[in-house]
Symmetry: C2
Subunit: 490 residues, 2 copies
Amino acid sequence: MPRTLLAAAILLLLAHAPAQTTSAQAARGYTTSHRADLLQRFSDFLSIPNVAADPDGLRENANFLLAQLRQRNIDAQFLTLAMPNVPAVVYGRIDTPGAQHTIVFYAHYDGQPVTPSEWDIPTPFTPTLRTVDGEQRIYARSAGDDKAAIFAQLTALDALRAANIPLHANIRFVWEGEEEAGSPHLEQILQANTGLVHGDVWLICDGPIDQSGRQTVVFGARGDTHLAITVYGPHRGLHSGHYGNWAPNPAMMLAQLLAGMKDENGHVLIPHFYDGIAPLSPAEKAALARAPVNDPMLMQSFWLGRTDNAPRHLLSLLNEPSLNINGLSSGQTGAHAANVIPPTATADLDLRLVVGIDWRHQQQRVIDYIRSRGYFIVDTEPTQQILTSHPRVALVVRDQASYNAVRTPMDLPIAQEVIAAVESARGEVVLLPTMGGSVPLGAMERAANTRTITVPIANYDDNQHAANENLRLQNLWDGTETMAALLTLQ
Amino acid sequence: MPRTLLAAAILLLLAHAPAQTTSAQAARGYTTSHRADLLQRFSDFLSIPNVAADPDGLRENANFLLAQLRQRNIDAQFLTLAMPNVPAVVYGRIDTPGAQHTIVFYAHYDGQPVTPSEWDIPTPFTPTLRTVDGEQRIYARSAGDDKAAIFAQLTALDALRAANIPLHANIRFVWEGEEEAGSPHLEQILQANTGLVHGDVWLICDGPIDQSGRQTVVFGARGDTHLAITVYGPHRGLHSGHYGNWAPNPAMMLAQLLAGMKDENGHVLIPHFYDGIAPLSPAEKAALARAPVNDPMLMQSFWLGRTDNAPRHLLSLLNEPSLNINGLSSGQTGAHAANVIPPTATADLDLRLVVGIDWRHQQQRVIDYIRSRGYFIVDTEPTQQILTSHPRVALVVRDQASYNAVRTPMDLPIAQEVIAAVESARGEVVLLPTMGGSVPLGAMERAANTRTITVPIANYDDNQHAANENLRLQNLWDGTETMAALLTLQ
């Protein structure tokens, strides 16, 4: 290499690398010296209820975040629709003079539904610090999914400003309020504001990092859709003695219907369920091959004596569509069990999708299977006339707030820049073609004319979507460093 | 026939028939003239909560009934055990001078568990009168099952006394307080009081009459036992995206386990499930052949498009053992459904038994089947060590408050006398070898050294064991006539 070129390369490296090292270091210093204050402020944020069933709570979260942005002199506004009860997207905008790129930070402030009786803290919105196996964790709904990411972004910005580290790119914050409801209005909101939300890349700050504890960058997410299936027995509960053997039991009918959907090893038997999967590229296969194999540790952690689709590994299986029963209910169990043939039995199915499979097609494949098992399918509560004139009737409610999977190629220049920034803050990272969970990446990519790359920060064992959700505090501090590095992308 | 014999026969008929005709007529006159007062008093009785989870409520019912007997100058006492929280049997005794026989009237004052939110009256213990299809009904837990029978017996006695109609036999009342819990202490209580509870026949006043509306006499009841089955997925709820396809879903495991228990026509596939059934006698077969076929009416009434084990009829199927899923639960459905792989799935199974099949054997057959499907069976909550060292683990809780089926031959003299008395009050009756429901007849027969015959009075569509239980008032008035005829048996 000629000497002048070498010097130019060194200058380039110096111009690039130190700025990012400094960002992460600044974040570390800031979170260390402001720990008590940061915990109090994170706790204040977690105290605001954020479930879909509570629109007032969601509104309060949005107002809180708008105020947070404005307190930092960030140009902020709500993006919403002229419809009642659509939680607003909280939008923030930092224009950096001379910026060549625009980086959009996506996260969501809503949380999964809660069943307070299952939590062992006073309420899911009473944030509680606990030390577990020598590590501090904070317990509350959305501690991990996904308020941690929003809080890390705000804190990283504060740290950079405190250290007088300048931004290089334009920065946008897009914080959604109905991700856990399937983002039914996000695409429409973005499309009405394409100029505001466009970026060179959207960084999706959601989900957990790899179970090994290493920082993770993910290049896609599975799509998601649901079906709620109800099958019918007698119109009212019947005495199981006087009518047992004769009146069809809907719980048994549902069991038989569901049982046929998978073999005993967890492979889905619904015809065409796996048809159309887009294959992984060589780079994606190579990244998967390098990723840690955490399966034995996870089996121990989750008390599992086997896994579905063994001997294949978790990370490999996430690149296929899945079918999960979120819940089953019919009659009563436990202390309330009565000797009754219940009138109905219901299952809530979650279908995860990968690139190449459309959610409408996947719903239809399941419905076609139900029909093939002798069911007459309705989409509203069946009448007496319908029930008495068909041997088997199933009410199938299709979730319309569904979306497809998305995958960004790992070798795009912007992908390589994001990887370099994160590695500058956190060392070698785990690169995954897709995460198992879902975020509405397709809507974002279409509406913002962008690519998406996911940079999660939460611990894998954060009980997201379940009772006792929690965030390992070290993940919050590490995540703040990661966000600082990304905020100072060129 | 010689003239003297004929005259003697006529005299015998006159001595016999008018007394019973008069009993029923007296009851009809009494209930007609005291209707408002009787309804108020029945309503007072129904207002006292009577579920197993509320021992104070059960005690209040027992005190109420003891007072009712003593107000009528009947020698009355509690029969119970020296153990806490065993609901007392309320016992009443009328010794009739010169009596040749002792007739025991059994009924129960406890009711099935309630889920108040499912009822469309203010509470299950707020008795409410309604007119349905031109007929008056009273809604409350135990309106039909089984406070109606107790109230009819007390009212029949009042009617006979008001009309100065004498009793002929010794009369005993045995009113139990834990029938709906499987009568776990009844046998022990009776055995401690054999002298008090012995009779030539026990009349079991429980259950519904035939769906045709005709008065019914039943010569047996199915036995009953339960198994609660819980299967295990991850130790805590896991995100269905991040772990779907990999972490076993207990709802799916349970569906597959249950699905294999029956074919699609409702025939039980568990090995040996039908082994050992005692065949029906010619008299029992003939009675069944004469019984009304109500199936098409019932299918319409229950909004059913098919029945299990078709084309066989309901009354025939009740003479076989049954397997019913009382309830299923795993995760959540409906508005609370979350994208989670639930930690457990539970089913509550009700097994009805017929003569020839012991409840312990039937439990074991189901457990053997579960084991044959690859499950390691435990009877207490499994540890991490157990769960991680077996691919499939099932917690199976055997109901110990179980009992076998009993059937009294229809051609015994006491059986023929009971039939004649009931027919004198209510005309031609439906005779059934067994009822589909269960009462602990075996314990009664053993402890009281007696035979049992069941004389129900409730309407078949009384929603017993379910929400909105109710009694058609006409059944209360008709049932009082039936009880009056039985109280004046020779």
